[in-house]
Amino acid sequence: MSLWEYANPVKFLKLSDKVLPFFVGFSIIGLSIGLFWGFFFTPDDYRQGSTVKIIYLHVPSALMAINAWFMMLVASLIWLVRRHHVSALAAKAAAPVGVTMTMVALVTGALWGQPMWGTWWAWDPRLTSFLVLFLFYLGYIALWSAIDNPDTAADLTSMLCIVGSVFAILSRYAVNFWNQGLHQGASLSLDKEKNVADVFYQPLLFSIFGFVFLFLTLVLIGTRTEIRLRRTEALRLRKDSE
């Protein structure tokens, strides 16, 4: 029994059938607790007022935007090395979710920036590198949709994802070098004793939990759709050739 067994589309569909309801449940629970608690039962920040509550959307979506790209990178590598179709399709399904998360992070950031910094947008390293990440997502999705042959498309986009990752990291450091930022440092990191004040921190954890499962749910649904699309396409081709 190894993990690779689930690279078989049939087994993957069976397993995802079983776990999907739980993922949906977890994401609903996490999001509703996190957002309700965050929006209605936390005090206003003494300097930021109620705008601080944007954090419950901004931080988790930004987190998932980066992790979605990372997941696509891993899935692309698996596709290139082991040629499991499910892996390539999962990478394909993750891209639209990732681009949406990036979009959410950018928009909520702008809404937060306007009252706090007095500007919707600043050419700050974090903001700029997120915009660049957004462009990378767009290019990746556009390449998928431009190629007809699914295997070629999977190969090419995987390579783009790998090369793109290198350049995305390079861009991240390049923009740091290019301009000093307005954005605060990391809100959450594992090696710090104290991150955000506890009242804000606990609902944020629920919200992140919800976003993680929301991402997993959407990617699973997307992958299942892609697998079924692939199947119908195969059936149609077989029927045409008869």
Partner: protein
């Protein structure tokens, strides 16, 4: 390999189009910017480095699909694939010849266009140096983008969407070298990184491009 380089260069010069067009495009961008911003030389000299770099970038992107598409269409690329030269070397040579036909002319005319944008003669040195070191990276990265889109009809817009984000680090470091040079601040750091980007792009990316080309020629 040298024969291939000669062939590509001859084709670029004789078959018309490619060689002069990039420079002409570069010139047009530089002429259009003052028309949009206004004739104030002080403002222009401030944005000049950025305009020259972005202009060079765009001129480079426009000519990228020439690297492979013609050879792909008439089957030359398949012959090159079966030739004794490894495909990685073919890609490197093609990127290099693209640089000679577009990057190098841009570097040569950039001081003249820099003068149009209000740069001092003594400042031109850094613009030329940064472009000279940075533009080869643009060709190598562009060759990767061109090999991704070689099989796609009308892939021009897609090509620029794929390649331009990859140009971000080169642009940042290149413009930074020139700007710091103009301000008489030490620009050793960005200069070294820019060189590293170019060297890495030319030594590593051809492998990715050749991988992608083999898939496209399957």
């Amino acid at each position: 390999m040298i024969a291939l380089l000669q062939r590509d260069l001859l084709l670029a010069v004789r078959a018309g189009g490619g060689f002069g067009l990039g420079v002409a495009f570069f010139l047009i961008v530089v002429v259009l910017v003052p028309l949009g911003i206004g004739p104030d030389m002080v403002i222009l000299s401030k944005v000049s480095v950025g305009v020259l770099w972005v202009g060079a970038l765009l001129a480079c992107v426009l000519s990228l699909d020439r690297i492979f598409s013609l050879d792909y269409d008439d089957g030359t690329l398949e012959l090159l694939l079966t030739s004794p030269i490894p495909l990685e070397a073919v890609v490197t040579i093609k990127a290099f010849s693209h640089w000679i036909t577009t990057g190098l002319p841009l570097v040569v005319v950039s001081p003249i266009l820099g003068l149009l944008l209000g740069l001092q003669v003594s400042d031109l040195k850094w613009v030329v140096i940064s472009l000279l070191i940075g533009t080869p990276a643009l060709s190598a990265i562009g060759a990767f983008g061109a090999s991704l889109t070689v099989g796609i009809r009308r892939g021009g817009l897609l090509l620029s969407l794929l390649v331009l984000p990859l140009y971000v680090p080169t642009l940042i470091f290149g413009a930074n070298v020139a700007n710091k040079g103009l301000e008489d601040v030490s620009n050793n750091g960005p200069l070294l990184i820019l060189t590293a980007v170019t060297l890495a792009a030319f030594s590593i990316l051809p492998f990715a491009s050749a991988f992608v080309l083999r898939i496209n020629l399957r």
